[in-house]
Symmetry: C2
């Protein structure tokens, strides 16, 4: 008989949509298109030489371990390196607070697997990171959007959401994807205090924390939570699970990220990870360790900051030069993205067709909004394209705006 695959799909597949962005990005792969759509690092500053040397050392000395299965939690030297870095940044934690994941996307999926029941409510920024929505939609949750201003989540809106007993709060306090907005110190403290008051755990996603181009580094929610609880040394055992990644400070192609959280939570996530992919590539974990163990990543981050800072400035200047006055955009202090708001009544998804005719692309903002809205917004990436390309691309975008905006 005819194969019956379609009749056998799980209920949750109704919520699972392919990312509109990833489909869109396929359209923009032609070389003539200048794409501000993706969230990709600049490939010309990948530390190719260091990765190459690391591969050589690993295959020469540790091939039996590098090419073999590993346990779910390891590679231990990498966990220790990351724990030390976290301690240096003011967090009390040790290696048992750490789980290595196959990119932060896997951490988001594992969090969904361990914590989300169908019908659960998740408190998120509005807009928020699309990858988190994609990961969690498969667990059939609903979203409560929290309103923000340029200093981050608005305490009143947050408190209102917390009272609805969400499963957890998801926040990106540093140079948020998609808006580029950062939480002020005062707002960070407020978020940690309010979440604690209502007993709602926090998932803090911090892929860009080290990529600040102006202003002072601010403590993470995890650090503030740790301080509030008076944890000075030893393991972290608080109210926040923290995510970060090598994708933006080393290379996304090795698919490596990490979770820091209470030991019990990390153990649960590791248990879930066993069923999901057994372990993250031992070879890739060793690459990250070999590249990072003598402090190279801190040096490399300085290069990334210099390059992206310039690109951000070029994009901001070009927007100023080419865009009608009716358009607003954020001024991110770090990260990879800025956020453009068109006058009400314009639809960035519709405008995209005109943009593609001009061979320039962006991501329409609607899909970052978990419960709809944001049609008149768009995300622009400034890390991937070179300065002259950014200039040219924003020029094209300006023409689209001037010709087609209502």
């Amino acid at each position: 008989m005819q194969p019956t695959w379609n009749s056998r799909l799980a209920h949750r597949t109704q919520r699972m949509k392919g990312s509109a962005i990833r489909e869109l990005l396929k359209l923009t792969e032609q070389p003539e298109v200048i794409s501000f759509g993706g969230g990709m690092p600049a490939p010309e500053i990948f530390p190719v030489e260091q990765v190459g040397k690391a591969c050589d050392r690993i295959l020469k000395n540790f091939s039996d371990k590098a090419l073999q299965y590993g346990t779910t939690e390891v590679y231990n030297p990498l966990r220790e390196m990351l724990a030390k870095d976290a301690v240096k940044n003011g967090l009390s934690c040790d290696r048992d607070n750490l789980l290595i994941t196959s990119g932060s996307q896997q951490a988001l999926d594992l969090i969904g697997k361990v914590f989300i029941d169908p019908g659960d409510k998740i408190l998120v920024e509005n807009p928020t990171y699309l990858g988190a929505l994609q990961a969690w939609n498969a667990y059939e949750c609903d979203y409560i959007p929290v309103q923000s201003d340029k200093f981050g989540m608005l305490p009143d809106s947050l408190e209102e959401g917390l009272k609805k007993n969400p499963k957890f709060l998801y926040a990106l306090p540093n140079f948020q994807n998609p808006t580029g907005i950062s939480f002020s110190l005062e707002r960070r403290k407020k978020v940690v205090e309010l979440a604690d008051k209502y007993g709602i755990p926090i998932i803090e996603d911090d892929p860009y924390g080290k990529l600040r181009y102006e202003g002072e580094d601010l403590p993470t929610l995890t650090q503030l939570d740790s301080e509030m609880r008076g944890m000075e040394k030893g393991q972290y055992n608080g109210n926040v699970v923290y995510l970060s990644t090598f994708s933006k400070i080393l290379a996304p192609g090795i698919r490596l990220a990490w979770v820091i959280g209470p030991v019990d939570v990390v153990a649960k996530l590791a248990q879930a990870k066993q069923g999901v992919d057994l372990n993250t590539s031992s070879f890739n974990q060793m690459i990250a360790y070999e590249v990072g163990k003598d402090g190279f990543i801190d040096e490399h981050v300085k290069v990334i900051r210099r390059v992206y800072n310039e690109r951000r400035d070029v994009m901001l200047d070009a927007l100023e030069e080419h865009c009608p006055k009716s358009i607003n955009w954020t001024h991110p202090e770090g990260g990879l993205f800025l956020w453009v708001t068109l006058p009400k009544g314009n639809d960035a998804a519709v405008l995209m067709k005109e943009a593609l005719k001009e061979n320039v692309a962006y991501v329409p903002g609607g899909s970052f909004h978990p419960v709809g809205g944001g049609e008149n917004t768009m995300r622009l990436n400034f890390s991937f394209s070179k300065p002259e390309t950014i200039n040219e691309g924003i020029g094209r975008l300006g023409r689209v705006f001037r010709t087609h905006l209502k």
Copy 2:
């Protein structure tokens, strides 16, 4: 207030257990223990030189792609290489039938995500691969065990199970993990026909298919299904989703496997994969392609076969020499494992304490049985240890048997 993580666990976590095997293996990591417990390839024949050369070439010529994000489906040259190999082995398929996954464990998880609703019934061999149970337990399914003999699934037991409308049938026809048993050609045909008759899809897991040490290669269920439907050229569009992996023919440390299935199913799995880890490491995919593109893997498989064949023979001979007559074991024609049955009334999990005192380890067979039973069975791996170590280890195990068996 106190963090409230535990009160927020999802319902499904009640079904999620850490693998007893993985916990056990940690105990057996001391160098004095001879472990037949894991399922690890022989590290001394990893193709280290080829991987090293591949890394060099990739980083020299394609670092911008290798270290960057990829789309979920690619790396296309690797998909094409695998599709060609499948066609060479008699399957009609092309690259759109293929999805690269982060190990077969991820393929199992994605299959659970896309097809299993809580309460669904899954038809499995008894015993069956523990990793599949671990992946699918998280989706809260139940299992219908099918009885087997040394030629594979018993048609009557299979048909009885198929009548209960399971979501799908899961089978490992080649040198099954854990028993080492292979389906005969007749049984393979019967499985394909019966599954078709009742409209129940098949998941065929084939990690060891290329590792045959005696007898003739037999067609996969996928090939037989394809033939039955008269698909001669072009895309595969049948009743089977096929899994295989680089873990046993190249190296598990790069975490690479693949799925072959109907294009619609592969697209659904890819959509699920977006939310799970965005994409599998581009670098690792390129390594597998660079190592494999000129036919090296076929040559390397010959080396693996020679080495494992010897180890299997050494283990079989040692069992013959050291074990009481009351014990039975399988004679696998390939793969990595054989299966020992103790006289009824013995518990291999209890016996493990005595074995560890003798510094030898195995995996008790109980955990491979989805609905209980099999206490008097154990799995032995013969791929990892060198011949002299196998001899010594089976000698120790023989002493344990002779001293402690009821």
